[in-house]
């Protein structure tokens, strides 16, 4: 079972990295940029036979390790 998990800061939490990247793009002359957010993703393969199991496992992974639920949201996308 293949899946992609996205992890991203909750709206409202200031991301120092994204703000520097966006500022730097500005000074580099990219003046059409109006917004930039960042996040990370995980491409995961699981040896399970059902989407439900995959979903449950991935959810647990996110809650326990892959995301910090205090400041981050996650989204699970089962691909096959």
């Amino acid at each position: 079972m293949k899946a992609r998990v996205y992890v991203q800061l909750k709206p409202g939490v200031l991301d120092p990295e994204a703000s520097v990247v966006s500022k730097t793009l500005g000074t580099m002359g990219f003046d059409t940029l109006s917004k930039l957010d960042m996040g990370k993703f995980f491409d995961i393969e699981l040896d399970v036979d059902s989407t439900e199991k995959a979903e449950a496992t991935l959810k647990e992974m996110c809650e326990k390790l892959l995301s910090n639920t205090v400041i981050e949201n996650y989204k699970i996308e089962i691909q096959s």
């Binding site: 991301d15 120092p16 990295e17 326990k64 390790l65 910090n68 205090v70």
Partner: protein, 226 residues
């Protein structure tokens, strides 16, 4: 005093913490391996600085899931005094023992330098050797020391006197210019509600003697002697 320093793969201030306890408190701490599942009851546990698990994913996130951390959490809840320094601070927030989280420094650069911080609560077992609002000099060395908490949590930290230290300048001024990493409200160190857990980004264990630039960090350890 029965004490322990937790050693994670990638810890690198574990020896510094050991030396601090040995030289200031006069007893040798147990160096406890993160992978063990039991830890004798301690009076003091230090979660030291370093790059546990390479600081990959989020600093402290993987260490927080180490087997021995379950035991640390248990002892913390039973009143054992815990100090988290630098990476130790990051680990303690990841376990949920302390609120908030540590994000990348606002300048996106690792900073290693001597800074000043102001003692904001000198009534705890970690700070009672300091005067109220005393300005002390200790070094920082981190890449993710930008303490972020939500507004309501910040308010409760302030209301419960849980802010232990704030970044300031030599004369004690707290403002944006004296904030090395962008931390909310210039917070350098926080306490839990019960005041038996202290976590801070600066390194008091690197400020034990003027030979190394400052001996202002001794107070944290001397306070523990009662």
């Amino acid at each position: 005093m029965k004490s322990a320093v937790i050693v994670f793969p990638g810890s690198n201030c574990d020896r510094d913490a050991y030396v601090a306890i040995r030289d200031v408190l006069g007893s040798e701490p147990e160096m406890a391996w993160h992978g063990d599942s039991s830890l004798e009851k301690k009076d003091l546990i230090i979660v030291p600085g370093g790059f546990s698990y390479g600081d990959y994913l989020r600093c402290g996130s993987m260490a927080a899931n180490s087997p021995l951390m379950k035991e640390v959490i248990k002892q913390a809840n039973e009143g054992t005094k815990i100090i988290g320094i630098c990476n130790g601070f990051q680990i303690l927030t990841e376990t949920g023992l302390l609120p908030g989280t540590l994000m990348r420094n606002k300048g996106l650069k690792f900073i290693c330098r001597q800074i000043h911080m102001r003692v904001e609560n000198n009534t705890t077992s970690f700070t009672r050797k300091y005067a109220d609002k005393q300005v002390i000099q200790v070094p920082v060395a981190h890449n993710e020391g930008n303490y972020v908490v939500e507004d309501d949590v910040l308010k409760s930290l302030q209301d419960n006197d849980q802010v232990a230290f704030r970044y300031c300048d030599e004369s004690g001024t707290v403002n944006d210019d004296t904030n090395p990493n962008g931390a909310t409200d210039n917070i350098a160190g926080v306490l839990n509600k019960n005041k038996n857990i202290l976590a801070l980004m600066p390194h008091p264990e690197r400020a034990l003697s003027k030979l190394f630039g400052s001996d202002d960090g001794r107070g944290v350890f001397e306070s523990l002697m009662g």
